[in-house]
Amino acid sequence: MSAAGVLLTGFLLLGQTADPAAPASGDAALAVAAQEAAAEASMAQGESVDIAGAARALARERGTNADQGGIWIEALWNQVIDPYLPFTVPEWLLVAVTLLLVCALVFGFINVYALFAVWLERKVSAHIQCRLGPMEVGPHGLLQSIADGIKLTAKEDIIPRLADRPLFILAPILVFTGVLMRFVPLPFGQNLTASDLDLGLFFVAAVGSVEVIGVIMAGWASNNKWSLFGTIRTATQMVSYEIPIGIAFVAVIVSAGSMSLQEIVAAQRGWFFHWYVLENPFLTVLSIVYLIASLAECKRAPFDLPEAESELVCGFHTEYSGMRFGLFFLSEYAAMYLVSAVAVVLFFGGWWTGLPFLDDLGMSPTSSPIASLLGFLLKASVFVSKAVFLVFVQVWVRWTLPRVRLDQMMHLCWKVLLPVSLVCLVGSTLWHLACGGSGLYGLPALLGF
């Protein structure tokens, strides 16, 4: 089942390599989406040529190697492995192997991370609740998730008799694929990404909707009234909260002048006040809006209505067991990391530590390979640490707050977050026009820093 998700992601990557301008050529619907995105992007550029240009200039000034971007494995191959091979490898084989390798790496990362995140969630919740949590399997229960994973895979695969079989089987795959595909443009460090799409941010937002379809399928196919309730709630919630998230994306795109996740991070180089969260007050507010909305998009407390245990038993995956449930579970934790990583990219400086002397490590063309490697590892670990910290915050919130009601959830989205984010989008754009990208509300620039 997971293999299907991996393969789909692989196709996507293939489309990307073949034709960088249309990142989603593998799928008709996605191609349409991409065209719309292109139209939107050109429109945005038309309106704000200066902003985008200024940002690019700024980025160049700070010595970003955005233009040298590319698949990092390629560099590894060209410089380290290929010269020492006794035979030449055909181009197509290289591409295929690279793609599979990238898929396997992303998939492996999700799996390893999910095992860790489940353990983290159980440990954090336990300590919040004056308990110890898992202690038996491995040191401090570290291997508990592996034991649970084995249990899940070994469980009997039950499909209710009255369920819609094909949909029931397809739903978890689709949900997981939706999450997995969003990992494609996601950076794990500088130049460390499956594929640096030009429309990266748009792609993340667009592909996320696939997950909703999977959820609707799951709830409908289960033929269970509680699942149906969960499904309707999920669909309502995810569709609503994508809007404030989308607006937060646009505001950052205006500031960075690019939709590429790599370039957005590159534009935040320098002192930590160049991070977009400290760029101007509107972006600060937007980062909070994004964090709230992403909680809702991940169906996490206090917005866990779709799975509200005390109301709906288990929501849309009530009827699922074994590894099918495992896939839903995996996608939930993968989505948690994903929204956190996107938050890190958009607002919290990506892989930059916020201290230029640390960030400059291995960045100059003359630096030694060791320094380059150290800098590379530092950036990757900084990025993942930031993302995992935000995952921790989500866990922390979940075990502290009660759950909101459906109408309150919609009220928050449409009457609070949406107007606030729209105002902030306009405010942030104007601020950017007036002050440029000086950071920390423009104060350092005023003080001549």
Partner: protein, 376 residues
């Protein structure tokens, strides 16, 4: 565009549902998330307490009373024991009276702690539940030391209590009181009672007007949440409750509407403070002496007659009506379980058309029912 056919959905909540607090079934007619009408079905836990009681001796009935409201078994024991004592016109030793008050109030705290915790869980906050269980555990440990049982005590019996209370246990209770009040209750209020989301979920939800509550025979914290200051411990003092100073907390409508879920919830939290107050006074005054009437322990044979006696349990009026024919077995026992009367108001609260599925859970939780007592 053709007309979309919409229809109402009939939803079975229970008998196996996480938040019906036992095997309780509500059939709800829903329009999307709105509940149009609900219909309660009970009886899944019926154990024929009243019939069983007719075939057992007076002393043998005591363990069955434990299993009615298993979260506040001491109050049931006390209610039954006092009814039989009233029938026999038996005077219970002074020390036993004090012990009974202490354990009943401790049990009331334990019961309210559980209500607090599970209510938080119904609303979606899981952490308060474990905090409440942590503190409830201290009370259960004390009871375990006292009578060897954690839930079904059968501790209060006709003529007194089973075992004497030792100095060590009294010290434990004192320690618990000092730990619990005021610090821990304050922590609970900060954690849950005044949490914004919690208030928005419970305020103005499931408003139970005083007249409706009275007409359905709602008692206990659920009635007091509607602003009716009725508590048998004050109104018709039994045992030695007239010797203690304590207040009766009632709902104030602080969060918008008098008699809403938040009021009912808050009455329970405030009552825990009052119970601690009573326990502290009882601990200070407890006299030495016998802890039971030895004669009554050997055998109970009340004279012919009938009697009704009621006490204030954790959920309201626990009443026993006993008819004696002069033998060692009761001729007829009728038990009034407060949860049974309290749950009867549920359909009236949820069928007004302003209730959502999520509110349904909030309302059931705020009535704090124990299915063992509803069905008996």
């Amino acid at each position: 565009m053709p007309d979309i056919k919409t229809e109402e959905m009939l939803l079975n909540m229970g008998p196996q549902h996480p938040s019906t607090h036992g095997v309780f079934r509500v059939v709800i007619r829903t329009d999307g998330e709105m509940v149009l009408e609900s219909e309660s079905h009970i009886g899944y836990l019926h154990r024929c307490f009243e019939k069983v009681a007719e075939n057992n001796t007076y002393i043998q009935v005591v363990p069955y009373t434990d299993r009615m409201d298993y979260l506040c078994a001491m109050a049931n024991n006390l209610g039954y024991a006092q009814t039989v004592e009233k029938l026999m016109k038996l005077e219970v030793p002074e020390r036993a009276q004090y012990i009974r008050v202490i354990v009943t109030e401790l049990n009331r705290i334990a019961s309210h702690l559980l209500a607090f915790g599970t209510y938080g869980m119904d609303i979606g906050a899981i952490t308060p539940f474990l905090y409440a269980f942590r503190d409830r555990e201290m009370i259960l440990k004390i009871f375990e030391k006292l009578c060897g049982q954690r839930l079904n005590y059968s501790y209060v019996r006709v003529g007194g209590v089973t075992f004497d209370i030792t100095e060590e246990i009294l010290a434990d209770i004192q320690r618990f009181c000092d730990y619990f009040e005021p610090d821990t209750i304050k922590e609970y209020n900060e954690l849950l009672s005044y949490n914004g989301i919690f208030i928005s979920r419970t305020a103005k939800v499931g408003v139970l007007p005083a007249d409706l509550a009275l007409s359905y025979g709602v008692t206990g914290p659920s009635l007091r949440g509607s602003g009716v200051k009725r508590d048998l411990r004050k109104d018709e003092p039994y045992s030695i409750y007239d010797r203690f100073e304590f207040d009766i907390p009632v709902g104030t409508g602080e969060m918008g509407a008098l008699g809403d879920c938040w009021d009912r919830y808050m009455v329970r939290v405030l009552e825990m403070t009052e119970s601690v107050k009573i326990i502290r006074q009882a601990l200070a005054d407890i006299p030495a002496g016998d802890f039971c009437d030895k004669k009554a322990f050997r055998g109970v044979k009340p004279p012919k007659g009938e009697v009704y006696h009621k006490i204030e349990g954790a959920r309201g009026e626990v009443g026993f009506y006993i008819v004696s024919d002069g033998t060692t077995k009761p001729y007829r026992v009728k038990a009034r379980g407060p949860s049974f009367c309290n749950i009867s108001v549920l359909d009236a609260l949820t069928s007004r058309g302003d209730c959502m599925v999520a509110d349904m859970v909030a309302i059931i939780g705020s009535l704090d029912i124990v299915m063992g007592e509803v069905d008996r």
